[in-house]
Point group: C2
Chain length 209, copies 2
């Protein structure tokens, strides 16, 4: 890793996590939990395989991730964040918040993975923490499914489907993202083609006000 | 600017401010206010002049800074942050917070500028907002002077000296930084060579507890 050689917390942080792709690798591990090399490549379209190997080694040396040989049936190496790596979540949250206005345009030729909504989803507020837990199912056109779980005032996501979601949102990535991130009213998003089924109120419970 | 081509707020943010040196340029403009090219170079030891020119042009195109021809006696171009550029302060704050543990070691061959303490100083809490305003004078060995002003619950810094500071702290950069950032007790720092004059209580008013 190159160093700025500056006695400054910001510069020191960037010495460790300022290289190209590094923070996106942290985003993947934060969103997905323990990952195989192949999971990371899937969530980082465009990264060269040898660059990913280099970055993972650097992150391990810096104490931000650890690797573990998982026994069969997984039978491969799994990468996960250390406590120091997870401590980067606020950096990612602030980058995400600052970047949200840049998502106003449709995705165009950009790639998309539904789990990229994990970091901004964690920043959502459960406006009704007194209510029972709910699960929102997201279907992004042509993409993986994501579940947003809202329970006791906190918001989490995981990949996949639940059997009986409280509500489902289906549509193109930019409508899902803009709605969840408060850039577009739910009713306006529905007019533009977002499909909502189930309890309307459940979605409003977490949308920014 | 290279793009990750990902429809993700974090990736979009990094498309704009992820290049080497860019966030440190933002740090300088946040700490110093409107700057000449020569001020920026002084605060960014190691940056190539043409790289700084390129980055400033990219930041201007992205709407994060603007340039203005200042009339005589300044008679040069001044660069300053736009509102969108200033909105990066929370990103810098979180990077700084994450980077503080990396400052535990003395500076060694690292360069230092006292005004690099501006961003972490802004994050300090005035524990006695009911008390009159105070000014703390910092003298880092071999470096520029910095004033920390504490008033009505907020903490700001500016370069230079005040005539009658409430307290002064003088010493090597790592003792000043570690003390201000809560990594070292004031009494331990004094034992290690930090010189404190004036009102001890004034310093404790802003040190992390």
């Amino acid at each position: 890793m190159r160093t700025y050689g500056q006695y400054c917390g910001i510069a020191k942080a960037l010495d460790t996590i300022g290289d190209r792709w590094t923070l996106l690798i942290i985003r993947e591990l934060l969103a997905l939990g323990p990952c195989r090399h192949t999971d990371l490549r899937n969530g980082l379209p465009g990264i060269a395989s040898n660059l990913l190997v280099d970055r993972l080694r650097e992150l391990e040396e810096a104490g931000l991730i650890h690797r573990k040989a998982a026994p069969p049936p997984v039978a491969t190496t799994l990468f996960s964040l250390t406590e120091r790596g997870r401590a980067l979540e606020p950096v990612l949250q602030e980058l995400s918040r600052w970047g949200i206005p840049l998502l106003r345009e449709p995705a165009g030729s950009d790639t998309f993975r539904t789990h990229w909504l994990d970091v901004p989803a964690r920043a959502l507020t459960d406006h009704r923490p007194d209510q029972p837990a709910i699960a929102l199912q997201l279907h992004a056109d042509g993409n993986e499914d994501l579940v947003i779980e809202v329970k006791d005032g906190s918001v989490h996501t995981h990949a996949g489907r639940v059997d009986h979601p409280t509500a489902s949102l289906t549509g193109p990535p930019h409508l899902l993202a803009a709605t969840l991130l408060g850039e577009l009213d739910l009713s306006a998003a529905v007019q533009q083609g977002l499909r909502l089924s189930g309890e309307h109120e459940a979605v409003l419970r977490i949308l920014p006000r």
